[in-house]
Symmetry: none
Subunit: 252 residues, 2 copies
DNA sequence: GCTCCCGCCTCCCGCGACGTGAGGGTCAAG
DNA sequence: CTTGACCCTCACGTCGCGGGAGGCGGGAGC
């Protein structure tokens, strides 16, 4: 089976230019050429391209991929095993980044100040020095000021008060429901969870169900957020989290 | 408080050249200069640099960071949400890739030939949104990989024959159990499912219960794998899959 | 035969986010 | 007054391609 560049490109989801590039640097040279000079790729080339694409997606530089693929000590099964490990690891790291973003969004919403360490939590290689630590303390202070300044710039006082009123009203009804002994996965609790989601959407940012569930998990996992709700009513963080989960499931 | 480039660079964990670059493109211009032309960064510059670093680690390009920081009308939350979507999208894609790898592993194990379409199916809706990341540095640690590669490289013909023999022995006992009418979620079937998992672990790759269940689903969903087991004994694919599920649940 | 158009070829400039010098001025310590 | 660490401004190199120019090959229709 022989394929032209265009066919290979369409099948593999890369551009023709990319295949030309791989040929140029010797990473993937087609099995042969037609008399007119057209590149002719065979099945072995496709298999190699698949491995290249996976390693590329994992962030390996091309020259290293060439070294890995041309290493005679590594059989194809070993490549697959390795890629499986790398992929799961990579997913874990991306999840950390997503969690960091969710933390940032939620911290902005509640005006909770992140410690510099938390902000750099997504950095793998950050080592605090003495001088750096001093600077971080200052940065932390000014950051809180910047956030609050920005918020007052974006919302008028009326807006802010209205938001606060809506929020407190929601909180009161939530507490009332809890103390009346209604289950967290009841229709009423789910309705309030939905209302919570829409409050976030209206005042802060668009919050689909998936994100809402992530937030719910954070409310019970991160003690600062837990404290925020426990201050309203003991057990509220867990109750709200369960209601959010139930609501998300029922709407899915 | 005024700092030189070097001091700022050390404190923030970036290179001097990076600060020069940020100055060149106007992303972070120092508050002033000394008479000799030295850059003098003040506290506000440090704060801005910290935010730049933060957004960069979250994967934002420099021009977008400039937009976020300089446009008073820009909503940081919207950018965070966009980045959140981007990252979750990438996670989903990586999960598909993991599934494709598992398919390729099993296909190789059972000597099934993949078509080019299947090979690249996971890249179907690929869009040029290449995020070159240093994942390789963190996850590409070649230590474990080389060990496993060496181990499989040392598999001799005898080893392979022994593997085959063990596999066939397991198959015979599985068939015997099936034909005797024992239920797929019985203790005996679960024991054989567990043995299957350990065979994979010993001979091919580490196979936790989660992965084992994925494989089980593939055995019934993909007709080529189904055929592999049906050739051993009719109904075996479904029987094995059910046993694997039961085993995974009981061990969890 | 001739045209038409698509796909292929090579050559080459451009990008983003810096790295890496070259060649030279500045500053504090010894 | 020297030394060595630090700073400056060019300016070109890197990686993994994107995109276009200018030209050739191949099959369909006239």
């Amino acid at each position: 089976m022989a394929y032209t560049v265009g066919q290979v490109a369409r099948a593999a989801g890369v551009t023709v230019r990319t295949l030309h590039h791989y040929d140029e640097i010797g990473l993937l040279s087609p099995g042969g050429r037609t008399p007119a000079g057209y590149r002719r790729y065979d099945d072995a080339d496709l298999e190699r391209l698949q491995l290249i694409r996976y390693y590329r997606e994992l962030g390996f530089p091309l020259d290293e991929i060439a070294a890995i693929l041309d290493d005679p000590a590594a059989d194809p099964a070993a490549h697959l095993r390795r890629q499986h490990e790398l992929l799961t690891g990579r997913i874990g790291k991306l999840r950390e980044m997503v969690a960091a973003i969710e933390l940032a969004m939620e911290a902005r919403k509640m005006n909770i100040q992140l410690t510099p360490e938390e902000r750099f939590q997504v950095f793998g290689d950050f080592e605090p020095e003495d001088h750096a630590e001093e600077a971080e303390q200052r940065w932390g202070d000014t950051e809180a000021y910047r956030q609050s300044a920005e918020r007052t710039a974006r919302y008028s006082k009326e807006d802010w008060l209205r938001n606060k009123a809506e929020n407190e009203d929601w909180g009161r009804r939530m507490v009332a429901l809890m103390t009346s002994g209604v289950a967290a996965d009841s229709a009423e609790a789910m309705a309030l969870a939905e209302e919570h989601r829409q409050l976030i959407t209206r005042w802060f940012y668009d919050c689909p169900y998936e994100l809402h569930v992530c937030l719910a998990d954070m409310y019970v996992a991160d003690e600062r957020f837990t404290a925020y709700f426990e201050a309203i009513h003991p057990g509220m963080a867990a109750y709200l989290a369960e209601a959010i989960h139930a609501n998300a499931i029922s709407r899915a």
